[in-house]
Amino acid sequence: MSDATILVLVSMLITGVLLGLVFALVAAGVSIMYGCIWLPNASNGQVFVLAGLLAWSLTNSLGWSVLAASLAVLAAGGVMAWMLEFTLIRRLYEAPNRNIDYFVMTLGLTQIISGVFSVTYARYNDQYELPKTIEGVTFLGPMPITNTRLFVIAVAALAIAALFAGLRYHQMGRALRAVFQNRDAAALRGVDVKSVYRFAFILGTVVTMLGGLLYAMAYSFDLTLAWTMSVTAFAIMIVGGPGSIFGALVVGLVFGLTQAGVSVVASPTMATFAYLGAMLLILLIKPSGVFNR
Amino acid sequence: MNLDAVPLLTTRSICKSFGGVKALKDVSVEVRRAEVLGIIGPNGSGKTSLVNLMSGHLRPDTGEVQFLGKVTTGLKPHALAERGLTRTYQAVRVFGSLTVDQCLDTASLMRLSHGDRLVDRQEILEWLELDLLKKKVSASLTLFEQRRLELAMRLMLKPKLMLLDEPVGGLSSQEVARMIVVLRQLRSRCGILIIEHTMHVIRELADRVVVLIAGEKVADGAPSAVLQDSRVIDEYLGSAHA
């Protein structure tokens, strides 16, 4: 194999892993909300992009460092999620069949956010790019990779691992899983279901925004990314199985590598077709997902 | 062949597994005319699976189901309803936002002529004491009223056999007593199969009892005989309430 081919393959691999981890993170956020609250959040893509845009504003207009901006965005995101939960989300906690209601409601939220984008950020620019998070380039053999991207991969992997561990070992995480398995049984065991819901919503939102920030650090992005990301996140969640972080990770990596591979030979839209196809197949054959509990 | 001798419903050597778990092992049951059959057994014994198989919600892995002498294995519930076999469900089901009248209209759709759709309605409504509730939305009825509505809807189908899945579930003891009276009167209108886990109801209503334990038919006979069967006592009655 020629050096050039090796470089292309390694580059694909790195891109695939990076994308895959980011996908997995976002899908995990969506999955937590759906598995726990039955809230399929169609606006996750908008939130994803919103994080990047806010970070851009902070770094561009106020000159903050990327890291400081990211932390601020995550904090602000937590607050926004709390406010949203307080005003809108909690009203449907008791509703049966609330997953359709939430799905449509979040489609409405998508429209609102998208409308706000088109009157603000869309007028300003087509493409957005954050300044480099970390300077410099490392060489893995012959392959150069920016330190920023290495950082992104590391943080994404850590975040997923932390989610996984937290859900398994931390008290709140276990409460989350208990509610996911069986809400009534969990309530009988003394779990405050509503505060678990609130936690799940805020956690899911913050995780999604983290994904958006990491993506923005590694790549430039535009506003159409929102819809693509929503579709991808849902596809990963459905294929991997709602509520399964492990499923989100595996399927996320598969999708990420697919996207990286496909982008080399064809337009990225083909990858979207593939995700849609996979989601459709799973919905029709095994709706509980590949890795369901 | 004497038509009266043909059983209403027969299952022959039914086997059904769900992903490795054998829910029903070689179960053969007959529902005869002019006789109320009761099926009892602990949770997980396969009662619901058996009824689901009889009513077309499931296909058996092996074995066959016959209704009125004709093979009906694999027919869907609506097709069986057309032939005169219908069932109720453990959890009460009504068309929530429709009134009692509208529920009965919907259940009468099978009847071909408009006049035919109303012919026995008033009598059935009065018998089941639903007449005054005709215009009430069915979701606002009490559980007992909804259970009676379930029976009324099924009677619109002019059924030959009704499979009743825990028909007194959720009712107070007074209501249970009243329901037993209703079910006794139901006998004269169509054949009945009752699934229950309450001994009291079975003793009051069933002429013959089949006991299912862990997917197998363990006993089949008059209630008094079955309830003294040693295996039944060992494996089931010890934990059941009388």
Binding site: V104, G115, V231 | V92, F95
Partner: protein, 327 residues
């Protein structure tokens, strides 16, 4: 509102609708809005049958309309057919596609079907964009000529009058269907599929028929849209269009004959009145969607006329019927 009252009101509305095109002759903009309201009314009638009466939310509705529209355009342009033949043929083809796309509803409940329909719609939009042979891709097809009637091209008030007739036919046909046994079967399937099956209703056949009928409305509306506006592109038949039509029905009041009419009259003119500020259209659409979900699940018509009793009963019925919809 008694039956006599609603009949009189209906009669008044019909007469005014037929007279309106002539009254609006002087203002092309308002006349155009009237035309779009009428086309949306046809669409809303179809969506109402599936969403209001059968209880399924088909987010691929606009895609089906698009298939009919593109098919009609192909038949009139490439094959030289008359619009009046092409439209029914294209709508029938769209209806067959609609049945196929509706088959997942036989296995998927509630949210999963909605999600599936979303996926299908997204795929359809991609197909419209990336297979330009029939659709000319994102550029769209313009200069679609209006149909001819008695040798003369249809334009001006006559076009709107034709649309009025179609809209009235749409509303009337839905009212007719719902008064027949088929309509009662639709409602039974919406209320409780399992129970419907148990009382002798062939749920599969009922759903297939529902998708066929509903897709016809989508298709006819799509064809009329194409010749009235004179321009189509994939964006005319994307997920946002499906959502907008859904909103009209949900906002106006699903499961009633008058609800979609109310919804159309209020919501359909909005995008055109807000032409100067397209971002406001998005935000208002979003806010209305959220509002309907949280505060007006029965829609305006449902909240005003059906009253508390039915709503409370419906909520209790929902709670009793809760089935695990995650799988």
């Amino acid at each position: 509102m008694t039956k006599a009252h609603s009949n009189i009101l209906g009669g008044i509305v019909c007469c005014s609708l037929v007279a309106l095109p002539f009254a609006l002759q002087s203002n092309k903009f308002l006349a155009f809005i009237l035309g779009m309201v009428l086309i949306n009314m046809i669409w809303a009638c179809g969506m109402n049958v599936l969403y209001g009466f059968v209880g399924l939310m088909p987010l691929m509705y606009a895609g089906i309309a698009g298939i009919a529209a593109y098919g009609m355009i192909h038949l009139t342009r490439a094959e030289g057919w008359s619009f009046w033949v092409a439209m029914p043929v294209a709508s029938l083809c769209a209806a067959i596609v609609g049945v196929l796309l509706g088959l997942p509803s036989l296995r998927l409940k509630g949210f999963y079907f909605t999600l599936c329909s979303l996926v299908i719609q997204t795929a359809m939009t991609l197909v419209f964009s990336y297979f330009p042979k029939y659709t000319n891709g994102d550029t769209g097809i313009n200069q679609i000529s209006p149909p001819t009637l008695n040798g003369k091209e249809l334009n001006g008030a006559m076009f709107e009058v034709v649309l009025v007739l179609f809209a009235l036919a749409a509303v009337g046909s839905v009212a007719f269907i719902m008064s027949r046994p088929l309509g009662k079967r639709f409602i039974a399937v919406r209320e409780d599929e399992v129970l419907a099956e148990a009382v002798g209703i062939d749920v599969v056949r009922t759903k297939v028929l529902a998708f066929f009928l509903v897709s016809l409305y989508a298709g006819v509306g799509g064809c009329l849209y194409a010749v009235y506006v004179g321009f189509v592109s994939p964006r005319a038949f994307d997920i946002l269009s499906s959502l907008a039509i859904w909103l009209i029905v949900a906002f106006g009041g699903r499961g009633s004959i008058a609800g979609p009419i109310v919804g159309t009259l209020v919501l359909a003119p909005l995008p055109y009145l807000l032409q100067e500020v397209p971002w406001a259209k998005d935000i208002i659409l979003g806010v209305l969607i959220v509002g309907v979900i949280l505060w007006f699940p029965g829609g305006i018509y449902g909240s005003l006329f059906k009253g508390r009793g039915v709503r409370a009963a419906v909520r209790k019925g929902d709670a009793d019927r809760m089935v695990d919809q995650r799988v």
